[in-house]
């Protein structure tokens, strides 16, 4: 391996090698192959169309967002269809990643103090695989949230087809799910960009540095280095 030479970003050999996940390409490790990235960004784009068309309807405080799409009426027309697209994209993502996201016994702790310790950079956990407990929980919560948003959204889309009381609850479920989703997404984006440099690259180029892998996902790093991750598939 040519050690110190920095990778050129458009090296064709490197781009081709990134078709497989969990392999070493030059100085970097492929974390998300192209199909994973495309699926992730299709979820992200549909999610944000939903957010920017939904939030101005949600409360007038966010009324200014309606201008992004040409007014509140356009938002109302787009939102349900964007919601369906988001659900489909989320469904594909769910199936695509479910193999990597099986919950482990200690993951429950991520709901409490462990998440805070993680945010204070206090954890010295060397047993973190490709995804940590917080990421796995987020995956399952997002899947559940997508179902909740779809079902409640369908009721709101066709209100006369359902009993009134059920409808009142549909609005409630849509709202609560969205609020949780929005708060989670703020931190998802923050952690994926500013808070943890190097992470965003895994979703655009698909690769991370060895140092990044060792710091954030030590067990995954060991497995990739030893070829264990490859044999497991």
């Amino acid at each position: 391996m040519s050690a110190a030479r920095p990778q050129r970003p458009f090296d064709t050999a490197v781009v081709a090698a990134r078709d497989r996940e969990n392999v070493i390409v030059g100085n970097e490790i492929v974390r998300h192959r192209l199909v994973s990235r495309v699926i992730h960004w299709s979820v992200a784009v549909t999610f944000f169309v939903c957010v920017f068309t939904g939030m101005p309807i949600w409360t007038p405080v966010f009324g200014w967002m309606a201008h992004l799409f040409g007014g509140l009426t356009v938002c109302r027309l787009l939102h349900p269809w964007a919601g369906v697209a988001f659900f489909l994209a989320s469904g594909i993502m769910f199936v695509h990643w479910i193999g990597d996201m099986r919950l482990e016994p200690g993951d429950r702790e991520w709901l409490g103090p462990k998440a805070f310790a993680y945010m204070r950079y206090e954890t010295e956990d060397t047993d973190i695989g490709k995804y940590n407990g917080g990421q796995r929980l987020f995956f399952w919560a997002a899947g559940l949230g997508a179902i909740g948003l779809l079902l409640s959204g369908l009721l709101m889309w066709f209100p006369r087809a359902f009993p009134p009381l059920l409808l009142e609850f549909a609005y409630l479920i849509h709202d609560v799910t969205f609020i949780l989703f929005a708060v989670a997404i703020v931190f998802h984006i923050y952690l994926g960009t500013a808070a943890e440099p190097g992470t965003f690259g895994s979703m655009v180029r698909g690769t991370v540095t060895r140092e990044w892998a060792r710091l954030h996902h030590p067990r995954w790093y060991r497995d990739v280095i030893s070829g264990e991750e490859d044999r497991r598939r």
Binding site: A3, I57, P60, M156, Y171, I179, A195, P197, R210
Partner: protein, 295 residues
């Protein structure tokens, strides 16, 4: 309706700062419906279609003389021919179904589009199609199941209490057409007084449960209805205790503002975290390849 700018607005949907100019003081108006003297001639239905230039839609046989099973975006005024068997034989409990112009309108409470549903200072509740986005929230908010989605325009439609007539000093078209005087129009106070007199009359005629339907749950309605069998509003297909659905109030007035704060809070939380802890960087590595594998 485009007459909106000529009228003082008391309340407007999804408004953050309120809409009252406070410049004009006008009395609250009301329709008066006496179900006991309605003869089911449907003159009010025809007058409504005519004045509001509604399109004629196919009627539907429901097994009674009723024109349609329920209200329609092109049919804002429907006489419900409720049939009941009493000892003396069949009785028609006819009731004029339309927007009740609630003092506390559930449609307006639920509506997310600024200015799409307004309540004028005179109490009339109106849909402003220019602002309406056709989201149907008002269907969930209305305790009387009145607003209807118009498939062609994508807007909600309902009785306007002929606000265009009322604003120039005329009575609504349905009132104008009524041949028996069972429909009256005036200030709310006058109509309530008229109703009270009629209820007394009915009581002395043996209808001891007679009642003026002006439900407290929505702080009274802009359409007051005399019922001979006031103890059974459901016989007239009226809800016993209508109110703005509590969950609608909860998510609209409490949960959504709270959620907005939570989202802003998350953003501020992330910024604070970044300021306090900074990024979690890969430190102490200057060359890409030293002693890595021992994680």
């Amino acid at each position: 309706m485009s007459v909106q700018q000529n009228l003082e607005i008391r309340r407007s949907s999804a408004s953050v700062w309120g809409s009252q100019s406070g410049m004009r003081s006008v009395p609250t108006v009301s329709k008066y419906i006496d179900t006991t003297t309605c003869i089911g001639c449907k003159a009010c239905e025809a007058a409504c279609i005519e004045w509001n230039d509604l399109r004629h839609i196919a009627t539907e046989q429901t097994g009674t003389y009723q024109t349609l099973p329920t209200l329609h975006a092109e049919y804002w005024n429907l006489i419900r021919f409720n049939e009941r068997d009493f000892d003396g034989g069949l009785v028609w409990l006819m009731r004029k179904d339309q927007c009740m112009h609630c003092e506390e309108p559930g449609c307006l409470a639920a509506c997310p589009a600024p200015g799409a549903i307004v309540q004028y200072a005179n109490g009339i509740v109106d849909v402003n199609p220019d602002q309406c986005i056709g989201c149907k929230y008002c269907e969930t908010g209305c305790p009387f199941d009145v607003p209807r989605f118009h498939q062609t325009t994508g807007k909600m439609a309902k009785c306007t209490l002929c606000v265009d007539r009322v604003s120039v000093g005329l009575e609504p078209a349905c009132i104008k057409a009524c041949p028996t005087g069972c429909l009256q129009f005036g200030t709310k106070d006058d109509m309530v007084a008229l109703g009270a007199r009629r209820v007394e009359q009915l009581k002395s005629n043996g209808f001891t449960n007679a009642l003026l339907y002006n439900p407290e749950g929505v702080h009274g309605t802009g359409v007051v209805t005399v019922l001979a069998h006031g103890d059974h509003p459901e016989w007239y297909q009226l809800p016993r205790d209508p109110h703005v659905p509590i969950l609608v109030r909860f998510w609209k007035s409490f949960l959504r503002p709270l959620g907005a704060i939570a989202i802003f809070g998350a953003v501020i939380g992330a910024l604070t975290h970044y300021t306090k802890f900074g990024p979690k960087e890969v430190r102490g590595v200057d060359a890409p390849d030293r002693n890595l594998p021992d994680a």
